[in-house]
C-alpha cells in the first residue's frame, strides 16, 4: 500500500507544489486554510486538471505516467467532503447504489445494502438524505465512497461539521473500514488532535508546500518550524482510561478532568507543562519525573525534551532555562494541570 503524489499547479498567484509519499494506511494532510490541502485532494481526483500531476496509488498510475491522465471517473476513488454531496432527490439506498460500478440494478441495490449495513445505515435506506442528521449523512457518504471499490479514499474534513460523539464514532468507523477493506485513506484536516490520533503518516502543508512529513509522533516531537510546533507540536500519550484516571501504556498515571473509559489518546500542549527542579506539591496536579534530554531554542521560547517513563516536551522561556540551569541536564519534575489534558477516545487502538 503506497501513495505517491506530486502536484504542481499555479492558479491566480497561488503555487501548489506538493510532494507526498506515504506507505501508511492512513495519511493525514494538515495545514491552515488556504494552504493547499483541498487543492491537493482535487488534483488527485482529477477535478482540477491543469498543471503537472504524478499520482500513483499502490503501484497504479492514475496520472503523470507518460500516457494521458485518467479522467476523474476512471480513477477509482472514493471521496467524502465536509458538506454532504448526497443527491437530494434520491433515497439513501439509491445514492449508494449510484457508486456501485458493476451489475444490473438489483445487483447494485443489493451491493449498496451490504455497504449500508457495514456503516450501520440500513434503517435509513429508503429515506431521503435531508431526513438524516449530519453524522448519519456522513455515514451514508462513507458507504457511497466505499461502494465503488476505491483504490484510495479521499476525505476532506469529513468530521468537522459534526458534534463530538458523532465525530468520534465516524472516525472509528473510517479506520475500521479502511483496515477491513485495505483501502488507503488520505485525510485532510485542520484539527491537530484528529491528525495525531489518526495518522500513520502525517504531512504538514503550508503555502502550497509540504513542509514536514513523517510519523505522527515524529512530527509532533520534532516540529521543524514554529508553525508546525504550534499546530501539531502537542504531547501525545496513549493509555487506558478508568474514569478520570489514565494508566499510560509506558507506565505512569495521569489525572484528567474529563472522565473516559477504555483506550484513550491524551494530548497536552508543551506550554501547559511546567518544569521544576524541586517537586511541586499541593494542588491537583500531575507531577512526573524525568531527565532533560535536549533543548531546542526557538526565538522567544525553548522546547525542552524530557525522557523518562512519560516522555514529554515542555515549552519554557529562555529565562526559565537559565534559572533552572536546564542546560546542565539532570532530573526535573514536570507539572501538568488535569484541566490541560485533553482526552480523546483512541480510534487507532
Amino acid at each position: 500500500m503506497s501513495l505517491e503524489v506530486r502536484v504542481q499547479r499555479s492558479v491566480g498567484g497561488f503555487d501548489l507544489d506538493v510532494d507526498l509519499r506515504s506507505d501508511a494506511l492512513v495519511t493525514v494532510l494538515i495545514g491552515p486554510s488556504g494552504g493547499g490541502k483541498t487543492s491537493t485532494l482535487r488534483a488527485i481526483a482529477g477535478l482540477d486538471p491543469s498543471g503537472r500531476q504524478h499520482v500513483v496509488v499502490g503501484g497504479w498510475v492514475v496520472a503523470g505516467g507518460g500516457g494521458p491522465d485518467l479522467p476523474t471517473r476512471a480513477r477509482r476513488l472514493g471521496m467524502v467532503t465536509q458538506a454532504s454531496t448526497l443527491l437530494p432527490h434520491r433515497s439513501v439506498l439509491r445514492n449508494v447504489a449510484l457508486a456501485v460500478r458493476e451489475g444490473d440494478r438489483p445487483t447494485r441495490d443489493a451491493e449498496a445494502r451490504t455497504w449500508l449495513e457495514r456503516v450501520g445505515a440500513t434503517a435509513w435506506a429508503e429515506r431521503r438524505p435531508s431526513a438524516l442528521s449530519g453524522g448519519q449523512q456522513q455515514r451514508v457518504a462513507l458507504a457511497r465512497a466505499l461502494a465503488g471499490g476505491p483504490r484510495l479514499l479521499l476525505l476532506d474534513e469529513p468530521f468537522s461539521a459534526l458534534d463530538a460523539p458523532s465525530r468520534t464514532a465516524l472516525r472509528g468507523l473510517v479506520l475500521r473500514l479502511a483496515e477491513e477493506t485495505a483501502t488507503p485513506v488520505l485525510l485532510v484536516t485542520h484539527d491537530p488532535t484528529e491528525a495525531l490520533t489518526m495518522a500513520g503518516h502525517l504531512a504538514v502543508i503550508e503555502d502550497g508546500r509540504i513542509t514536514q512529513q513523517g510519523s505522527a509522533s515524529e512530527v509532533a516531537a520534532r516540529p521543524r518550524s514554529r508553525w508546525v510546533a504550534e499546530l501539531v507540536g502537542l504531547n501525545l500519550l496513549r493509555g487506558v482510561a478508568d474514569g478520570t484516571l489514565v494508566r499510560l501504556d509506558g507506565g505512569g498515571e495521569l489525572r484528567t478532568a474529563d472522565a473516559a473509559h477504555g483506550p484513550v489518546a491524551v494530548t497536552v500542549h508543551p506550554r501547559a507543562v511546567s518544569v521544576h527542579r524541586i517537586r511541586p506539591g499541593g494542588s491537583p496536579r500531575n507531577v512526573l519525573t524525568g531527565e532533560v534530554a535536549d533543548l531546542d531554542a526557538r526565538g522567544d521560547h525553548v522546547r525542552v525534551r524530557i525522557t523518562g517513563p512519560v516522555p514529554l516536551v515542555a515549552e519554557v522561556t529562555p529565562q526559565a532555562v537559565a534559572e533552572l540551569d536546564l542546560g546542565a541536564g539532570g532530573t526535573v519534575h514536570l507539572a501538568v494541570k488535569a484541566t490541560e489534558l485533553q482526552v480523546h477516545p483512541d480510534e487507532a487502538a
Binding site: A45, L47, T72, R73, A74, R75, R76, L77, G78, M79, T81, A83, T85, L87, P88, H89, R90, L98, A99, R101, R128, S130, R144, A145, G148, L154
Partner: protein, 225 residues
C-alpha cells in the same frame, strides 16, 4: 348561461390545448438543452446567445410573428422546402400555430431552467464524477433532477404562455375557424361579432388555466426536498 354554454363552439378550446401541449413539448426540449449549454458551457458569444434567447419575451408578439412569417412564409427557403415535401404551405396551418406558440414560450422555459441549473452546486456533479458516472449520466441523473423544480416551474410558465399566445399566432397561422383559431383569437373574434357571452366564457377558461399555471409555479418554487 346554459344557453350560452350550449351554443358555444368548443373547437378553439381543443385546438388550443393541442397546440399548446405540442408547443410546450418543443419549448421543454429546446429550453432545457439551451439552458444547459448556457449554464454550463464556456464559449465565446455565450452572453450574446443568452440575450438572443430571451428576445422573444421582450419583442412585441406581432413583431416576432412578422419575423417568423418572413422565415417560414411561402417564398422563404423553409416555406418552399416544406411545400415541396408536404404539398401545401406551412403558414396558416395548425403546425404554424404550434411553431408560433413554441417560439413565444421557449424563452420562459429556458430562463427558468437556466437559473435552476446554474444554482446546482457543482460539488454534486464532482462527487458523481468521482463515483464513476459518465458525463451523460451526470446530466440526466444529477444536474437535471436537482434542477427539476425550477425546470418544472418553467414548463408551467411556457404552457401558460403557449396557451395564451395571440399576436405571433395570428401573424403566421391567421384566424381560420376550426383550423387555426385558438382560444385567444376566438375571444377577439367573438368580441368583434358582439358575442360577449361566449367571449366571457372563453376568457374565464383562459384565466383559470393561467391561475392554475401560476399555482403550479409557486408550488415548485417553494421548499425543495
Amino acid at each position: 348561461m346554459t344557453e350560452t354554454l350550449a351554443g358555444i363552439d368548443w373547437a378553439p378550446l381543443w385546438l388550443s390545448l393541442r397546440v399548446a401541449s405540442l408547443a410546450t413539448l418543443i419549448a421543454t426540449v429546446l429550453g432545457i438543452a439551451g439552458a444547459y449549454v448556457l449554464a454550463r458551457g464556456r464559449f465565446p458569444g455565450r452572453r450574446f446567445l443568452e440575450a438572443l434567447a430571451s428576445l422573444p419575451i421582450v419583442l412585441p408578439p406581432t413583431v416576432l410573428g412578422y419575423y417568423l412569417l418572413v422565415t417560414i412564409g411561402r417564398r422563404s427557403p423553409v416555406g418552399r422546402a416544406w411545400e415541396s415535401l408536404t404539398g401545401g404551405p406551412l403558414v396558416f396551418t395548425p403546425t404554424a400555430a404550434v411553431i408560433a406558440a413554441a417560439l413565444a414560450s421557449t424563452p420562459f422555459c429556458l430562463r427558468a431552467a437556466r437559473a435552476a441549473i446554474t444554482d446546482v452546486d457543482r460539488r454534486y456533479e464532482e462527487a458523481a464524477r468521482v463515483a464513476g458516472l459518465s458525463e451523460r449520466r451526470i446530466v440526466f441523473e444529477v444536474t437535471l433532477p436537482i434542477a427539476q423544480r425550477g425546470i418544472l416551474a418553467g414548463i408551467a410558465l411556457a404552457f401558460a404562455r403557449a396557451l395564451g399566445d395571440f399576436g405571433t399566432t395570428i401573424m403566421v397561422a391567421g384566424n381560420v375557424p376550426g383550423r387555426t383559431q385558438t382560444m385567444p383569437i376566438a375571444v377577439y373574434d367573438r368580441v368583434q361579432a358582439f358575442d360577449y357571452a361566449t367571449a366571457g366564457v372563453l376568457a374565464l377558461i383562459l384565466s383559470v388555466v393561467a391561475v392554475l399555471a401560476l399555482l403550479v409555479v409557486a408550488r415548485f418554487e417553494r421548499a425543495p426536498w
